[in-house]
């Protein structure tokens, strides 16, 4: 079970409160977690990654286990603690004022 923490605006958009939990049938990489997240919550498509290129949106970052995964390859495996569900995968809006 993968626990995903979304920014407040995306929680509102996805009609969820608190963390989202995902079950993956494939190795849990950045790509596969985001694929599953968007499959479960289609209204999030385009809000985290570009529709076509699947590039991370510029003002979003990915953290887990006190590490910044934002610039890792999409095929990077998530840390074991995230895979085990003891630590969440964090999708964070960059601090940019406003």
């Amino acid at each position: 079970m993968i626990r995903v923490v979304l920014p407040a605006h995306l929680r509102t958009l996805a009609h969820v409160n608190g963390e989202v939990t995902l079950e993956l049938a494939v190795p849990p990489t950045l790509r596969s977690v985001l694929d599953e997240l968007e499959a479960r919550y289609p209204m999030l498509r385009g809000t985290i990654r570009d529709h076509d290129t699947l590039q991370r949106r510029a003002f979003l970052r990915f953290f887990a286990c006190a590490e910044d995964l934002s610039h890792e390859s999409p095929d990077t495996l998530l840390p074991p603690e995230v895979v085990a569900g003891t630590e969440p995968f964090l999708i964070i809006g960059a601090i940019a004022g406003g």
């Binding site: 920014p7 407040a8 605006h9 995306l10 958009l13 996805a14 009609h15 968007e38 499959a39 479960r40 919550y41 289609p42 209204m43 999030l44 498509r45 385009g46 809000t47 985290i48 529709h51 076509d52 949106r57 003002f59 979003l60 809006g93 960059a94 940019a96 406003g98």
Partner: protein, 394 residues
């Protein structure tokens, strides 16, 4: 008794203001989509309960929202209210997808436009500035976007397709962004001729299609802009807004960066009607609902300040289609006021005594129920207002 519904887009959400035909007591609903920039909301003329909304964010990109009950509830087209999936159970999430058409069959290869420094820059989608629902089909709606292009949806906003002949017009490399970005901000549909569409882009100019968007013609003759190398160029003009009265689809009024302009031949030729305005810079322009020669502007001090002149909030009205203007000040602050009125932030209702509405960057929405003779604020303390539209309801 008739009612009016004012749709207000702000920097931090949408608000819906409603009143009966007297327009004295107002109910305020909102914020909807709190914290998001709402560039524009507009209702379908065919089905007034159908409202389209552009919800956007520098962080999370573009969302299209739709209401089918007059703004009480909202959903992303293709996803029923309160549910996560599309009616057939398959998630699609296409309603926020605006992909430039780069196919060789129907579009043009993705071209470049001029950047601020004069170099060429590729088109990059940023947001939807304006939504224009059809006069005949509630599921047909157009979207003007930044970087400038025109999109069309025929399924109520679920899927969007670019009318690529506009962006692929041969002048594209000469278009450039204004201070607000390279936005397509004005879309005017001719009720008498469904094949005719006017659009305007900052900073490219105005364009007209007479074949429902298959081909486009720049309509900028007569515009003079000293801030481009050739002041009389075919394109490159910073048009801020264009308005038309539906009974006279060949007569257009334009607030350009500088100059208020008029055309009586569908944009083929423009002439200046700034007349006695204290400054001819501004953003909004609109036409009285029942008097096609009565027009409104809100002069703004520029180039660098972008607030109303002399600390006085004044709408100017011309009853002669331009040139002769009178200030409308009753009920508006006449000292210590330093707000702006952005390009899509003025609208009129269609009640017998025409109502005029505008919103400011200070968060006020003012209404006049007597064609501008006097004004009163509906709300004073919203976030900065980006757009105002009005629906006149039975």
């Amino acid at each position: 008794m008739s009612k009016v519904r004012v749709l207000v887009g702000t920097r931090k959400g949408a608000f819906i203001l409603t009143a009966d035909g007297k327009r004295e007591k107002w109910a305020v609903s909102g914020p909807h989509f709190a914290g998001w920039e709402i560039y524009h909301l507009k209702g379908s003329p065919v089905d007034p309960n159908r409202i389209y909304c552009s919800q956007t964010s520098g962080w999370f990109g573009q969302i299209i929202q739709r209401s089918d009950d007059g703004g009480k509830t909202w959903f992303q087209p293709g996803t029923p209210p309160g549910e996560n999936k599309t009616p057939d159970g398959m998630p699609k999430g296409e309603s926020n997808k605006f992909k430039y058409d780069d196919s060789s069959e129907t579009g043009k290869p993705l071209t470049t436009h001029q950047w601020y420094d004069g170099t060429q820059h590729p088109w990059e989608f940023k947001r939807v500035w304006h939504l224009e629902p059809s006069h005949t089909d509630p599921n047909l709606v157009y979207a003007g976007v930044e970087d400038a292009a025109l999109f069309k949806s025929t399924d109520g906003g679920q899927n969007w397709h670019e009318l690529s002949a506009l962006r692929g017009h041969g002048t594209g490399p000469k278009w450039q962004p204004g201070a607000g970005g390279m936005c397509l901000h004005t879309i005017i549909l001719d009720r008498k001729n469904p094949n005719r569409i006017y659009i305007a882009i900052s900073a490219a100019g105005a364009f007209r299609s007479d074949d429902a968007g298959k081909t486009w013609k720049p309509i900028n003759q007569g515009l003079v802009s000293q801030y481009i190398p050739d002041p009389n160029a075919e394109v490159g003009h910073c048009v801020h807004h264009v308005a038309m009265h539906p009974s006279r689809p060949d007569t257009l009024f334009m607030q350009k960066h500088w100059d208020v302009m008029r055309s009586d031949n569908a944009g083929d030729r423009w002439h200046e009607v700034s007349g006695n305005l204290p400054t001819d810079f501004g953003f909004v322009i609109d036409v009285h609902a029942h008097e096609p020669e009565t027009i409104y502007v809100a002069p703004i001090k520029s180039d660098s300040e972008h607030f109303v002149p002399d600390g006085k909030l004044r709408v100017y009205r011309s009853r002669s289609g331009g040139n002769e203007w009178e200030p409308l000040t009753k009920g508006l602050p006449q000292s210590d006021c330093y707000v702006n009125i952005l390009r899509d932030a003025m609208a009129v209702d269609w009640l017998d005594s025409c109502g005029v509405y505008f919103g400011t960057t200070g968060g006020q929405v003012y209404a006049s129920s007597n064609a501008g003779d006097s004004w009163a604020p509906i709300v004073r303390d919203l976030p900065a207002v980006l757009s105002v539209e009005v629906q006149t309801l039975p």
